[in-house]
Amino acid sequence: MDRVRELASKKAAVIFTKSSCCMCYSIKTLFYELGASPAIHELDQDPYGRDMERALRALGCDPSVPAVFIGGRFVGSSKDVISLHVDGSLKQMLKDAKAICMKKENPVPFPLSSSTCDHSPFTGSLAHVMALPKTAAAGAMHEV
């Protein structure tokens, strides 16, 4: 649990996943589309993975992955993320946590933009999952 909290507070957006989980892949894709670059922690690659999974379940996350934290706070699993995304709350939360940039001019495809936002280098965790031709994730992001 501590490790979960610790990792979750290290970045504005943190997602706990498993390398084999395709739903995790979907959620990650969604975050990239929104322009965020969440920290990805794969439980099956982590020595404390099993404990962390138990901790996530204790938080009420079912299934245990993907588990999303924004601004250090537990947001939920895929169902919650989608619901929040549809009513616009997800984007707002990401903005509040400074996980996505607010720049309006010339939106450039992530991760080439330079800004004060909390970008981190592309972790390359996608490579773990599979080698899929990645569509332009960030695309044209229109801020409202």
Binding site: C22, E33, I82, V86, G88, L132
Partner: protein
């Protein structure tokens, strides 16, 4: 012992008590007849009564053996011997033959009436004449009953008359054989008639069954053809592979019912909108429609657990709808696109909200689609590794099992995708409802319904097109 103690109709015991048990047999018979005519019996009661009375006669008289009785006995029919008053049957009185027409008590009749409750059927049989058709008559008892009942009533009336006549005859002379023979012959003729009628009835019934069977096979073929063409058919009972309450067939039926109710609600909504109903009334109906949408998502989540491939296949939808199928349902972003034009006028804020909603649902759809692609890729990789492996046979089997296990795990995640897709649809609808006013929501729901019902109509037209 008094035979009355075993009279089958205890309710008449009181009246019978007035009939002296000893003494003059004629007196006794006359009293019995009075009782018979005075009381109301059902047909089966009358039949039992005849048997009982035949036995009474036997108890009263003893006489010559009768050829009819002997032949019946010789046919091996068991005869109940637990009643002492039957004990004298070895020497069958002539009176026994007086009354076969009256009482129809060849031993076969006796046995059957004791053993069966469907009286009328057994009556038309007479084993003294060896009709092969007695079995046939047995096979379709139901069709026999009505006419047999009539015949029997006639016979019964005849019987009581004959009983009377027999009483008189036995009083005057000593059972003149010619009288008996005539009665026997008459009764035999009637039985033949009844048997013939029942044969004809049975023939008619069998023909009816045959034609129904043909019709049934024709209908089944039509149904099969129609199902192949993908017409949505809500049927029940002709396939047995639905699991519990959540199988594919059950879901199809439930979906059909849901659709009916949905159409009904939409009609109500349309009438309310056209009649410029107030906001309060509209809100009630709109909330009802939204709640009903929640219901279909609940049903879908149930069947996703049991048979996710049925949902994915879209076989529960019409062909044209299936064309637009995305992860087991409609695409919310498409729906919003077609709504935007129809919902004018929208305030600035609403326009922004709807456009955002469209974009969000598009993004979510993309994310889920990519997840599905990833799943497919992963699954095909799992199934394709090591198929040409050169390790020993046991190694291959172990590999195979391992692959299958992994593939099974991946297939299990399909349910999650369908659920999230439905979740997306449900959230989109609800968010739309929040952004719009009640009246706008009403118009939006009508527009959505019209769109899909046109798609369904298109499917029907397509399937019915001349080729």
């Amino acid at each position: 012992m008094s035979p009355f103690s075993i009279f089958p109709f205890p309710m008449f015991d009181v009246e019978l008590g007035s009939i002296p048990a000893h003494g003059n047999r004629a007196h006794f018979e006359a009293s019995c007849l009075r009782l018979l005519r005075a009381s109301t019996f059902t047909i089966s009661q009358l039949l039992e009564l005849r048997v009982w009375m035949a036995n009474l006669y036997l108890g009263f008289t003893c006489g010559n053996a009768d050829s009819a009785f002997n032949s019946a006995k010789a046919s091996g029919q068991p005869f109940p011997t637990d009643r002492s008053y039957i004990g004298t049957l070895d020497k069958t009185p002539n009176s026994f033959t007086i009354n076969p027409s009256a009482l129809r008590v060849e031993s076969q009749g006796l046995h059957l009436e004791r053993g069966q409750q469907t009286g009328p059927v057994s009556i038309s049989r007479d084993h003294t004449e060896n009709w092969g058709e007695s079995d046939m008559a047995d096979a379709s008892p139901r069709t026999d009953i009505s006419t047999d009942a009539e015949t029997d009533e006639k016979n019964l009336r005849f019987d009581s008359e004959k009983l009377n006549a027999a009483v008189a005859a036995s009083d005057s002379s000593d059972r003149s054989k010619s009288n008996l023979d005539q009665k026997i012959l008459r009764r035999l003729a009637q039985n033949r008639e009844a048997a013939r009628k029942s044969r004809l009835r049975k023939k008619a019934y069998v023909q009816q069954l045959e034609s129904s069977r043909l019709k049934l096979t024709q209908l089944e073929q039509e149904l099969q053809r129609a199902r192949q063409q993908g017409i949505f058919i809500s049927s029940s009972g002709d396939q047995s592979h639905s699991l519990g309450g959540n199988g594919a067939m059950t879901f199809d039926v439930e979906y059909g019912r849901w659709l009916e109710e949905h159409n009904r609600q939409i009609n109500e909504l349309r009438m309310a909108v056209n009649s410029h109903a107030g906001d309060a009334e509209l809100r009630i109906i709109v909330d009802g429609v939204m709640a009903h949408y929640d219901e279909i998502f609940r049903l879908k989540s149930n069947v996703a657990k049991a048979d996710v491939f049925h949902l994915l296949s879209g076989m529960w939808k019409t062909p044209a709808e299936r064309c637009f199928l995305w992860l087991g349902g409609f695409r919310s972003s498409e729906l919003l696109k077609l709504l935007v034009n129809q919902l004018e006028p929208l305030t600035e804020q609403q326009l922004v909200g709807v456009s955002n909603l469209q974009q969000s649902s598009q993004q979510a759809e993309d994310a889920l689609s990519q997840g599905m692609e990833a799943l497919q890729q992963s699954l095909s990789e799992t199934l394709s590794t090591g198929s040409l492996g050169s390790s020993g046979s046991t190694g291959n089997v172990a590999n195979y099992m391992g692959q299958m296990a992994m593939a099974m795990g991946k297939l299990g995640t399909l349910e999650g995708f369908i659920c999230q897709a439905d979740n997306l649809r449900q959230q989109t609808l609800q968010q739309m409802h929040r952004i719009l006013t009640t009246r706008q929501s009403a118009r939006a729901l009508l527009a959505i319904h019209d769109y899909f019902s046109r798609l369904r109509a298109l499917s029907s037209l397509w399937l019915a097109r001349p080729r």
